[in-house]
């Protein structure tokens, strides 16, 4: 077997090996840790890009671990859906790893920096593994890998509160993981298989079994907790607020997206829409929950004074969009939902990176203290503004494209009443971001300070992400076409 054929495995194994390599390499020289992390995540990104490209050309790729044929062996599979998500997540992981250097030096005690990068790469391993695996137990394993490394990373924040936040997340995350494991166990009990495609084939005959129903309930609650769907979001605001900047950025941009991906996989591939029609109207339930998430996330964000916490609540709302688009169960809305995985990753990434750069320079996290920031850090604040406009959904930014598709999808499926939900939340988003924009541009600081931009290592990734918010907002044809293919595939229930 040549190298290219092994790419589906390598996309996960490269970061995994790097996580192991970092601690010994870090003993030789501290500088190695960062270089290895950046190289490994860059490699993962390159491989993901290659995989997506070949999926677009030749269709689904199936990789059999140890050449054991599924359903007996573990299968990795790349199709339109996870090829797309792989690229998004590995890209963000790469950008954040570049960015991490300066902010980690600032926020993490020196003797822990190598372990930080090791945990970071484990997190990336877990996230990429969740996406690529076609085996439901393997999925659980990767969820645990990403969660455990996530707890570690959050706990490495400077303040004591980071420990509490991490501990809360650990408790809830463990509940979630246990639920998911229980769901897997129940399914295995009645079907005797763990392969997703195989499950999808066998489950329809068993839809009315109580065991399957129980499994579905466990999955729904467990995954909703992981992706922080309102009202199961309570672990998130503290975790994002107290985690180091780089960790907040990658968790906000990719962590919850991966949860959303797993939810889509279980609901639309392992279970199919027939289950929704004949057994449990879960899309209806999800529609209600996600609408509440969208509105409540935005309302709570308006009430925040800490900028990182505000962004966290805004994520609660944005995750609602992803779930809403998917639950409308129409092709356009589903495409919008998948686009939002990319778009929200870009814009929330931009915002967290910009805030991280600001915290690095000034230590300010309170919204009212941001006066005159636009003069002091013009480029960082410009990136922040672009991210904010994207969140509001201003046209020519990415936020508009996905909201447009979700709204259009709502009309197509005849559920027009979700359009006002989207619009109201856009308005609320405008309210909470405008407070900040007004502070940074239209209120002058007490001391007319000089310009002190973030260091290039932080500034360049931030500006790159902001640039992509504009780029994919003005030339969205490529992601739209991939998302539409993936949406079609998901709704047809094929893998």
């Amino acid at each position: 077997m040549n190298l290219v054929e092994n790419f589906p495995a390598l996309v996960v194994i490269v970061p995994l090996i790097s996580a192991v390599l970092i601690p010994p390499a870090g003993r030789i020289s501290k500088a190695f840790a960062w270089y290895i992390a950046v190289t490994a995540s860059a490699l993962s990104f390159a491989i993901s890009g290659f995989l997506l490209n070949s999926v677009l050309k030749t269709g689904r790729i199936s990789y059999w671990f140890g050449n054991w044929e599924p359903p007996w062996g573990i299968e990795y599979a790349v199709d339109y859906l996870n090829g797309f998500v792989l690229v998004v997540v590995s890209f963000i992981a790469f950008v954040v790893s570049v960015y991490a250097k300066k902010s980690v030096e600032d926020e993490i005690p020196e003797n822990k920096i190598t372990f930080f990068y090791s945990a970071y790469m484990l997190l990336v391993t877990g996230l990429l593994g969740i996406i690529i695996t076609a085996d439901i137990f393997n999925l659980y394993v990767f969820i645990e890998i990403s969660s455990l490394s996530g707890y570690t990373l959050i706990a490495s924040g400077r303040r004591k509160a980071a420990l509490v936040a991490s501990y809360n997340y650990l408790i809830l995350g463990t509940v979630a993981a246990t639920f998911i494991l229980l769901g897997i166990g129940h399914l295995y009990m009645v079907t005797g298989t763990l392969n997703m495609a195989d499950l999808a084939e066998r489950l329809p005959q068993l839809y009315h079994s109580k065991v399957v129903l129980t499994a579905f309930a466990f999955f729904t609650v467990g995954l909703s907790l992981k992706l922080a769907l309102f009202p199961l979001h309570i672990w998130m605001p503290n975790a994002y607020t107290y985690a180091p900047s780089a960790v907040s950025a990658i968790l906000a941009a990719t962590g919850t997206k991966v949860g959303a991906y797993a939810l889509l996989r279980i609901m639309f591939t392992v279970f199919k829409l027939d289950f929704d029609i004949h057994v449990v109207p879960f899309t209806k339930i999800m529609l209600v929950l996600s609408s509440v998430a969208i509105i409540m996330g935005s309302v709570l964000a308006v009430a925040q004074t800490n900028i990182k916490r505000m962004l966290a609540y805004s994520s609660v709302g944005q995750i609602g969009y992803i779930v809403l688009g998917a639950s409308l169960a129409g092709e356009t809305a589903m495409a919008g939902s998948l686009l939002h995985i990319l778009n929200h990753a870009l814009m929330k990434g931009t915002l967290f990176l910009a805030v991280g750069a600001m915290v690095y320079r000034t230590g300010i996290e309170d919204i009212s203290e941001l006066r005159g920031m636009g003069r002091k850090m013009p480029l960082t604040m410009a990136a922040f503004t672009i991210g904010a406009f994207s969140m509001i959904g201003v046209p020519l930014t990415v936020g508009f494209v996905s909201k447009w598709y979700i709204a259009l999808g709502a009309l197509e499926t005849g559920m027009w009443y979700f359009v006002p939900v989207i619009l109201i939340s856009s308005l609320l988003t405008a309210v909470y971001f405008w407070r900040i924009i007004e502070n940074i541009y239209f209120k002058s600081a007490e001391h007319a300070g000089q310009v002190f931009e973030a260091p290039a290592g932080m500034l360049v990734p931030t500006l790159l992400m902001a640039g992509l918010c504009i780029f994919f907002g003005t030339a969205a044809s490529l992601p739209v076409s991939v998302a539409q293919k993936a949406a079609k595939m998901l709704l047809a229930g094929v893998m």
């Binding site: 494209v401 308005l427 739209v480």
Partner: protein, 490 residues
């Protein structure tokens, strides 16, 4: 209709964007900075004027800038209606630029660089709306216009200015996100396209109820047209420096609002669809409510700029009334009123600013005898006021004439009464100012006008109202072309 593919509209829009950069980097040298503003306004106007012959020749200029995703383009299309509006706005920008220089320097305003930069962006956005070929492009520039004028409204950065700015933003951004965008999405999902077409794009595409809902959402969302009850942002915006009130809140921003209403009525719904559903008549009566009520409120205002603002609210609804009549004369009157109200109202605002700079007076009750102190300024005011009332030989008469004809054509005599009543109200709130200025108060010591930079532009716009009465042919031709393209079935 011939179509010419040319990037000219993009150049028109980008001229002032380039100027933004140049103004920004030459902020330390005010004379160079002002040179860029003036140069940009002149170039912009000449570019717009260079497209005029083609449009008068019956051609349409199109240019697709980019495709956001399949089915949604950022596209420009210069037709008679667009060039009409663009010519008006870009011409008045030249005069306002001179006036602004006089104003900010006389008052030693802070943040002048930001002021000129935002002004230039606002003009780009206005041109963008004028030349947009579809609802999405229009929506984008409409929003840009809101955002870039916020710093101008909140310019003084005092608590009142910030508060006014917030009101401004809440109304304009809020309604456009909540209603206008909703309407655009509904239009797309109903008609599967967003481009403007001479016959409208919604006919036969949806149920009557749906069409009515979309129509109401559009009218509620285009708050820049300041139809009651969503008009309060306009008086709130009067905290802005006067040149801003003059060009933006008498011409660019508010005219963008009514321009979009005209566009939506004619080119999204189409007159046939609206008259079948009776929505045109409904809108006309709704607009006449605003016309009368705003005029009555204007009567009570002592602050000169507020009085002018309420007068604008009332006058904007003339434009809406005219197009809502859905008859040739009504539409002609409506389009002509965009131009004629612009010239009249900008003169009045210029005067308000000149008075403020020369005497620091803002209230009508303080203006006794000001006409003898500032004869040129107040003569211009008189011309502007007479034009607003609609007395020949001032331009305002023309549009009122066409509007009145339109009401007769549409067989809606009550609306003719509305126009007559509003004319009387106009006279009631403008003429006392003229009377105070010239016939009340004590003998004045000496003539003390505002700087020439301010007085010359306001005299020119006042003369403009006269010239437009005698030589309206260019603009009349353009508005007749609009009418012909709708009724002639091109």
């Amino acid at each position: 209709m011939d179509t010419v593919y040319s990037a000219l509209p993009v150049y028109v829009i980008s001229v002032s964007l380039i100027a933004v950069v140049l103004v920004g980097i030459s902020g330390r040298n005010p004379n160079v900075r002002e040179f860029w503003t003036i140069a940009a306004s002149l170039i912009k106007f000449s570019l717009v004027a260079s497209m005029l012959p083609m449009v008068l020749d019956g051609k349409v200029i199109e240019y697709t800038l980019l495709t956001v995703f399949p089915g949604l383009d950022i596209k420009f299309r210069v037709d008679a209606l667009g060039i009409f509006f663009a010519t008006t706005a870009s011409f008045l920008w030249i005069l306002t630029s001179f006036y602004s220089i006089g104003y900010v320097r006389a008052l030693k305003e802070h943040a002048q660089t930001r002021y000129f930069m935002c002004f230039a962006v606002a003009m780009s956005a206005t041109m963008g709306v004028a030349f947009s070929a579809n609802l999405l492009t229009m929506f984008i520039f409409y929003e840009i216009l809101t955002l870039c004028t916020f710093p101008l409204v909140a310019h003084k950065e005092t608590p009142e200015a910030i508060k006014g700015g917030r009101t401004y933003l809440t109304y304009l951004l809020g309604t456009s996100l909540a209603f206008l965008l909703f309407a655009v999405v509904l239009t797309y999902s109903t008609a599967h396209r967003l481009d403007f077409s001479a016959q409208g794009i919604l006919e036969g595409k949806g149920s009557d109820v749906l069409i009515t809902v979309i129509f109401i959402l559009f009218m509620a969302g285009i708050t820049k047209a300041a139809m009651m009850p969503l008009h309060s942002w306009l008086p709130a915006a009067m905290v802005a420096p006067t040149p801003v009130s003059a060009l933006l809140h008498a011409v660019a921003v508010v005219k963008t609002g009514v321009f979009v209403v005209v566009k939506v009525v004619l080119h999204v719904f189409g007159i046939k669809l609206l008259s079948e559903l009776g929505l045109g008549t409904a809108l006309a009566y709704y607009a006449s409510f605003t016309i009368i009520t705003a005029s009555v409120i204007a009567l009570k205002q002592d602050n000169l700029k507020l009085r002018l603002a309420y007068s604008t609210v009332s006058q904007l609804s003339y434009v809406i009334l005219g197009v809502a009549l859905l008859t040739p004369s009504g539409i002609t009157g409506s389009i002509m009123h965009i131009l004629l109200h612009a010239f009249g109202k900008i003169t009045l605002f210029f005067v308000a600013g000149a008075i403020y700079v020369a005497t620091h007076k803002t209230n009508v009750s303080e203006l006794d005898g000001i006409g003898r102190q500032m004869p040129f300024t107040m003569a211009a005011f008189t011309a502007g006021a007479l034009s607003m009332i609609g007395i020949p030989p001032f331009g305002g008469f023309l549009s009122k004439w066409y509007l009145a004809m339109g009401t007769v054509e549409a067989n809606q005599l009550p609306l003719l009464v509305v126009i007559a009543a509003s004319t009387i109200l106009n006279a009631c709130y403008f003429l006392p100012i003229v009377y105070r200025a010239f016939f009340k108060g004590s003998e004045v010591k000496r003539i003390s006008e505002a700087p020439a930079f301010m007085v010359v532009p306001l005299v020119l716009t006042a003369v403009g109202t006269l010239i437009l009465f005698f030589m309206p042919s260019l603009f009349l031709d353009l508005s007749k072309m609009v009418v012909a393209s709708i009724t002639g079935g091109v």
